[in-house]
């Protein structure tokens, strides 16, 4: 059977419309730029004597309007394709975009529910709610949550197993039908097959799960390490600061790629280095929480005992499982190759976090409320963790978003060089690496994971930008 087209039966009238929207948009950009050069400006609001407002529309305004509506038209076309994919019965009619839209149905539902709820209650949700005042932040958040939900619902979305091979489908173009589908099989490869005959679409979706399993957690660990070391370095200063800064600079002076090539090899895993590093790095979250509760409740022994023992029990349970693969209950475990990836990403990221935290602490500790705390006789750790840290949350949250994006890029780099991942793994970096060999002849296997990675990182960056803007407003 012929492969299905990208746009299906809606394409007949939506394709020209989309093309027109793109043309109008670029014409608007060029016209706007030219008019700016000539010196024309957008119309300004004038206040009339009778308290009414008048805007004189100039050609610039019309160009901007044309650009705005062409973008809306373009997006509306996409929405129609997805709706077509949900309503039309045959895959030939849905088209590739429609078929993809249909597979992502759980994601759409989750996104719509979340956005509706968040916008409805945005005034009660603090910084998170304020995000919905910034269009850039909303776009970024939407992109991030799209991949987040894709990762969560990946089992519902994928059409074939990520490592299932159908050898006749090798390098088939997007929209190709299976040669002899069994009963209950999804009848086509939506985004084509890769060089081994696996489904590109399913691998892309499962890749989201691979990335989002590691990136946020690794960033969180890096923040724990960076905060636990950065707070005292900035607050106490002196020898401790000099030593820690020297070590941080040492790690930062290492070219990341060299470090990965040295650390993420089977021989290093055999030598036990990752376990040793994990043993050190994973201790920091436990220290962080113990100090956090101890400084807060050291006057209330019962509460202190409760919180500290809870943190210690949970902490060491996770610690034994993650670092040594020796969970007494056998629930938590981390395979050696994932552990080394995780540890090296944490190791690379934490010095930067350390520097940021140290810089913020140096700034905040000169504030009056810190002096007031010192005068009240509060201990140094209480001041650091309960006075300074909450006031440093703005820049830290923003950096957290940026750093998840950076971690995603790092994981992609590792996958791209085939370091630390199993060869069958559907993560985006390795899929790009596999696809690049035949890139000029068969571009379709490498392009979807590349665009997916880019959109996720872009979403995180835009989200960080929106958060920064909104947190600076108050």
């Amino acid at each position: 059977m012929e492969p299905i087209t990208w746009t299906g039966s809606f394409g007949a009238f939506l394709n020209p419309l989309m093309l027109a929207a793109v043309v109008v948009f670029f014409a608007g950009v060029v016209a706007n730029f030219a008019m700016n050069l000539v010196g024309l400006r957008a119309g300004e609001v004038q206040i009339n004597p009778d308290h009414t407002l008048t805007i004189n529309r100039t050609p610039v305004d019309y160009a901007l309007m044309a650009m705005k509506y062409s973008v809306l038209l373009f997006l509306a076309c996409w929405a129609l394709f997805v709706i077509g994919g949900l309503t039309l019965p045959e895959y030939e009619q849905k088209g590739i975009i429609g078929a993809m839209g249909q597979r992502f149905l759980p994601v759409w539902i989750a996104l719509i529910v979340m956005f509706a709820l968040s916008i409805r209650f945005k005034r009660k949700l603090g910084l998170y709610g304020k995000l919905f005042d910034s269009p850039i932040g909303m776009v970024g958040f939407g992109l991030v949550m799209f991949w987040m939900f894709s990762a969560i619902f990946a089992d519902l979305i994928i059409t074939h197993g990520p490592i299932d091979v159908i050898s006749q489908m090798r390098n088939e173009v997007p929209g190709s039908f299976l040669p002899s589908p069994d009963e209950g099989d999804f009848p086509l490869y939506i985004l084509g097959g890769d060089n081994l005959g696996r489904d590109v679409f399913s691998r892309m979706v499962m890749g989201a799960r691979e990335v989002l399993k590691i990136a946020p957690a690794a960033t969180l660990f890096a923040f724990m390490v960076g905060i636990t070391l950065g707070l005292p370095a900035g607050y106490f200063g002196g020898r401790l600061d000099t030593l820690l800064t020297f070590i941080a600079n040492l790690v930062l002076a290492f070219p990341v790629i060299l470090l990965f090539y040295l650390l993420v090899t089977p021989e290093i895993v055999a030598a036990g280095i990752p376990t040793a590093m994990a043993a050190v790095l994973f201790l920091f979250p436990i220290i962080f929480f113990v100090v956090l509760w101890n400084s807060r409740y050291h006057m209330q022994p019962q509460k202190r005992l409760l919180y500290i023992s809870i943190s210690l029990v949970i902490g060491f349970w996770l610690y034994s499982g993650l670092a040594f693969n020796a969970d007494p209950l056998g629930i938590i475990s981390m395979p050696g190759n994932i552990l080394i990836v995780f540890v090296s990403v944490v190791f690379v990221n934490s010095p930067t976090v350390f520097r940021i935290v140290r810089g913020i602490v140096l700034d905040i500790k000169t504030r009056d409320y810190v002096a007031a705390g010192q005068t009240r006789g509060e201990g140094p750790w209480y001041i650091m963790l309960w006075e300074i840290l909450p006031n440093a949350r703005g820049p830290l949250i923003v950096d957290f978003c940026l750093r998840i994006g950076y971690t995603t890029i790092l994981l992609g780099t590792l996958g791209f060089f085939g370091l630390g991942v199993s060869p069958e793994s559907p993560d985006w970096g390795s899929t790009i690496n596999e696809g690049r060999r035949l890139l000029t002849i068969y571009p379709h296997p490498a392009l979807p994971p590349a665009l997916a990675l880019m959109s996720l990182v872009l979403g995180l960056n835009l989200l960080a930008d929106g958060l920064r803007e909104e947190s600076l407003k108050d």
Partner: protein, 363 residues
């Protein structure tokens, strides 16, 4: 100032020592040596044979002593091989008389060692590779820095304007596109004979070859660089680094534009063009200078990716080959170069910042 530079250099040397020791330690771990023995000898060695191979070839003994030998502060090892009845040692060829050889041979004496995979002196290999990468870096910088500064200055001169928003979004998008993504997209768009723009362009008769650009830089090494084979690697490296420099320039420019002296100039009636070009620009470019210098270590990763992606046998490609073939001395030399580049750029950025910024004086 002299003392400041001296102290910076001292810290730098200490850092270099620590870093090279870490690299030395990681590459000379026992499992790595075992792998080396098996690739050099034969794959089915017993553990005892491996141990004796390691010892015979000078990889035995305490790590710190061998690090000293490699560095050139401890005399190189010499050993009498009883099977062949010849002297062997670090500083001379097999069979030569150890009396004639120098006692020390390490980095400090300019001896980078011997690449076990290429069967050649490391210094012979790495020089040519570095030159190739130098060319790539030069063009990447020549594209990246002016473009980034232009974008940053245009965005920062009117903060919050439409121009600022669109250019900032572009900068964000470029930082969100790592080399292995933009490279793939560029190749598909511009260098594929079946997809992207090239089939269309060649159908229209606007380009001579089958593709607009070449998706591999292999020919650039032999036939010299030209637009056809070098555009895509340079663009790919430049794009990722550009966004960051542009954002820093924008922030610095926006800060300068709110300064008092700019307001004074505006009130005196200086035209906007003159304010930007004559008053603001020079002060706004101090901060990006540091960022540009610190961009080198980042570019190193980019170079490794781009050289692998475009098959360009420069420094990055050598690093990948050395690491994946467990070529210890070559990898060590690569890391020396990398660490050296990073530290020197840090030093230059520190010193340059002090020179450029008249408000900082170190007595």
């Amino acid at each position: 100032m002299g003392l400041f530079i001296l102290r910076r250099v001292g810290v730098m040397i200490l850092t270099a020592l620590c870093l090279t020791f870490v690299v030395f330690f990681l590459t000379n771990l026992y499992p790595n040596l075992e792998k080396l023995a098996k690739t050099q000898g034969n794959a089915r060695m017993t553990d005892a044979e491996v141990a004796s191979w390691i010892d015979r070839n000078g990889y035995g003994g305490p790590m710190i002593v061998r690090y000293g030998e490699w560095l050139g502060v401890v005399p190189g090892w010499t050993r009498f091989d009883e099977q062949t009845e010849q002297w062997r040692g670090r500083c001379f060829e097999r069979g030569e008389n150890p009396e004639d050889a120098p006692r020390f041979c390490g980095i400090l004496q300019g001896d980078l060692g011997f690449s076990t995979v290429s069967d050649d002196e490391v210094s012979n290999i790495i020089g040519g590779r570095l030159a190739l990468t130098g060319v790539l870096m030069f063009w990447a910088f020549a594209v990246m820095v002016p473009a980034a500064l232009l974008v940053g200055v245009l965005a920062g001169m009117r903060e919050g304007s439409r121009m600022d928003r669109s250019l900032s979004t572009f900068a964000i998008a470029s930082t969100a596109t790592p080399e292995y993504v933009s490279g793939v997209i560029f190749i598909v768009l511009l260098a594929s004979s079946t997809a992207g723009l090239s089939p269309w362009l060649s159908e229209m008769g606007w380009i001579e070859g089958r593709t607009l650009f070449l998706g591999s830089a292999r020919s650039a090494m032999e036939d010299g660089i030209n637009i056809w084979n070098f555009t895509l690697p340079v663009l790919t490296i430049a794009l990722y680094g550009m966004g960051y420099i542009a954002r820093m320039t924008r922030a610095s420019m926006a800060e300068v534009m709110t300064a008092q002296y700019i307001r004074t100039a505006r009130l005196k009636g200086v035209s906007f063009r003159n304010i930007v070009l004559k008053h603001a620009l020079r002060n706004a470019l101090i901060a990006p200078f540091t960022v540009i210098m610190l961009q080198f270590p980042w570019l190193l990763t980019g170079v490794v990716i781009v050289e692998t992606l475009f098959n360009y046998n420069g420094f990055g490609w050598t690093l990948v080959q050395a690491a994946s073939n467990n070529d210890i001395e070559l990898l060590l030399a690569c890391s020396i170069v990398a660490v050296f580049v990073v530290l020197v750029t840090q030093l230059i950025s520190d010193i340059g910042y002090v020179f450029l910024n008249p408000r900082i004086r170190i007595s």
